[in-house]
């Protein structure tokens, strides 16, 4: 059964990718795109058969989230040619939103330190405003520089004197279980738009500063903001518990344990002759998959609408020739800012969804290679500028990112099969198999960029 499916997938893929190899006419665009998605489905079915359906569905859920992130990056890079190297930060903001919205509020912590934090925040805002006011009103001189400097230093010290004790007070309250402010205790679905909003705000600030300058600056600025956002999440224990992780976030779907005690579910399991434990976990994953698919389709539909509207045509005109678009009266910096914020919102939504799926916020897992550069490979491989391409890229790349480890391990095992088990080289190679996927992704990125820069599903 598996072999037949594998053969069909292989055949379809060859037919779609290399028609001359089998001596046939190239497929039409639509047929080719459909075969890509069919092959992807077959691969997932094979994993379901070979490993387990639980594994396959977990894979699908993360593929869906990856596709949404890739859609967001495609809006920035594909529509407008903007380089965002800080995807990790925007996704992490989505995760923060999930905590702030859905975690249970810790009332003791609120009464202990919320006021101090609030005062410190107000002082910080007033400091920035005072510094800006001084900078604008005083004549340009050394005195102005000194005044701004003194205001900023005093402001920071004053804010810290309120913030420090407040943060300590909050972190002292039951540090093993909480030690943070908690959230609002609202349904976690609400966190998805809020995550988008937070990410959009951050993008607006960055865009305001870095857009309109040369293209590299945006890349470097986004790289920086991502590092800082993750540093804040890791170290501000009063807000996100830092590396202690916030676990046990509420779910938008039923819990396995509840399902296993529900009569209709047990009846159904018995009727289908399935183990209730396995079936409940598959059912939960299916619920997630359904939710994520709805969001993905919604965003995809909106993106397609936007791309094919006058606005989308204008964006592509700006991307392809800024000078002539500017001559036509388009405000390039404003449009870039707009599209940059929109793309980041989508990434933020996906970030919140990811934290929802995990049920916990684990700041240690936000790593640029996994969250920023991997998404880039998805967009480039799928086909920059094409929304379907971004979705396909999200599926393909995530699939191989997860499956590269077993494949790499198997490969290393085969290569070194002749050596004895305690051979140092064999041990080292087997241990290092995990790092193979970084290299694989780099090679995929470079090969696609060079030999097929338009990706699997090229822009029309």
């Amino acid at each position: 059964m598996i072999y037949i499916l594998g053969l069909i997938a292989l055949g379809l893929m060859t037919r779609a990718l290399f028609p001359n190899l089998v001596g046939l006419q190239p497929l039409t665009d639509t047929a080719r795109n459909i075969s890509y998605f069919v092959v992807m489905t077959l691969l997932i079915i094979i994993v379901g058969q070979l490993q387990s359906w639980n594994v396959a569905l977990a894979l699908v859920n993360l593929c869906l989230i990856s596709s949404i992130m890739a859609l967001g990056v495609n809006i920035q890079w594909g529509y407008a040619g903007l380089l965002n190297v800080g995807i990790m930060g925007f996704a992490a903001l989505g995760g923060v939103a999930a905590v702030l919205i859905a975690a249970d509020p810790i009332t003791d912590a609120w009464s202990a330190g919320a006021l101090g934090i609030f005062v410190a925040f107000i002082i910080a805002v007033v400091t920035v405003m005072a510094a800006m006011y001084t900078y604008r009103t005083m004549p340009k001189s050394n005195a102005r520089g000194l005044a701004v400097f003194v205001i900023v230093i005093l402001g920071i010290l004053l804010a810290r004197s309120f913030y420090g004790p407040a943060a300590t007070a909050i972190e002292k309250i039951d540090p093993a279980a909480s030690g943070y402010l908690g959230g609002l205790g609202l349904p976690i679905i609400l966190a998805w738009p809020v995550g988008g909003l937070l990410a959009g705000l951050a993008a607006w600030v960055i865009g305001k500063v870095a857009l309109g300058l040369r293209s590299d600056y945006l890349a470097i600025a986004t790289l920086g903001i991502a590092e800082i956002i993750v540093a804040i999440i890791k170290h501000e224990d009063w807000l996100t518990r830092g590396v202690k992780n916030v676990s046990g976030l509420p779910r938008p779907v039923p819990y396995e344990i509840d399902l296993q005690q529900t009569q209709w579910f047990l009846d159904l399991a018995e009727k289908w002759g399935q183990n209730p434990a396995t079936m409940s976990s598959i059912f939960v994953k299916l619920c997630y998959a359904a939710l994520f698919t709805i969001v993905l389709l919604l965003i995809l539909w909106l993106s397609q609408k936007a791309l094919n509207s006058p606005w989308g045509r204008m964006m592509r005109a700006i991307r392809d020739n800024e000078i002539s678009a500017n001559a036509m009266g388009k405000n390039i910096v404003a449009r870039h800012l707009q599209v940059f914020v929109l793309g980041s919102i989508v990434v933020g939504i996906a970030g919140a969804m990811l934290t929802t799926l995990d049920g916990q916020l684990t700041p240690g897992t936000y790593q640029p290679l996994r969250f920023t550069f991997l998404i880039w490979v998805m967009v480039i491989l799928g086909g920059s500028g094409n929304n379907w391409g971004a979705v396909l890229g999200g599926f393909v790349v995530w699939f191989f990112w997860i499956q590269a480890e077993p494949i790499g391990l198997w490969l290393m095992d085969t290569i070194t099969a002749g050596m004895s088990d305690d051979n140092a080289l064999r041990k080292h190679l087997l241990e290092s198999a995990a790092h193979m996927r970084l290299m694989t992704m780099g090679i995929i990125l470079l090969v696609v960029l060079r030999f097929s820069p338009r990706g699997l599903i090229p822009e029309k």
Binding site: S215, A219, L223, E227, L438, M441, G442, P453
Partner: protein, 336 residues
Amino acid sequence: MEFLNALVLLSNFVLIPAISYGSQLALGALGVTLIYGILRFSNFAHGDTMAFGAMFTILFTWLLQSWGISIAPLPTALLAMPFGIIVCIGLVLGTDRAVYQFYRQQKAAPVIYLIASMGVMFITNGIVRFIIGPNDQKFADGERFIIKARTFKQMTGLSEGLSIKVSQGITVFVTVVAVLILFWFLNKTRTGKSMRAYSDNEDLALLSGINPDRVVMVAWVITAILATIAGSLYGLDKSFKPFTYLQLLLPIFAAAIVGGLGSPIGAIAGGFVIAFSEIMVTYAYKKFLKYLVPEGWEPDTLVQLLSTDYKFAVSFLILLLVLLFRPTGIFGGRSV
């Protein structure tokens, strides 16, 4: 006396660490700025090139140590560095041939180079983790300190000690030598002059018969040398861990931009600006003030502007300020 103590305290915890960190950043930023000047893109793979060069330096150090060769009291790594440099030159020339050369012929946009450099970063990072693993590696040997804190206290009778590590001394010395050679090369030799001409105006340089392939090759070779030195010195001074080099990318870019992308002198100045601000902003001045203010006025807080967890934020803030007020950097690099 109190004043001297305060001064020594500040030198020990701010001045000396900042000078050695600044030297490492300056060397890194020089590599970035050179590639920017000649090939006109921001090389995201630079951090991992540093890690790669440093890794081979470490491997050769271990080899030399196993043969019992050492140049004590100096660390063996200094002897191994030339070998690391050679391997690193091989890597960058290889990637240039395999990756960037194609885009040069295509006259691709800088953004495409940038994305390609991300691919190179992935692969280099993978190679480094594959060969040496993701963990901390120690390879410093020989004498640890030039001046120990206790010796200094005995010598001067002050209550504050001043310690200078051998790695810090070597960092500064090697950086000064490397920078002097680089500037001599860029200003006095024929190849160096042709590189500057190419960086200033590509078309004009081509018209006057400068061979672009040669200029690009020399630029990569110099970058590899600088990256290996910077990476090895950083590893010697702190410790070698592949992931930290990825994080160095931000301060290095900030340094190159603060100084003005494409300007070597700016890269050096930028490196020190970033290093000094990072350490000064995250230093707790409580003890320092205690020596200076009259009795009873001591502050009870740490008097620290920013916790050390946010040292990246400092380079980022400086970067933002420069972009806001002077996008071409202090020394007026290019802004294409």
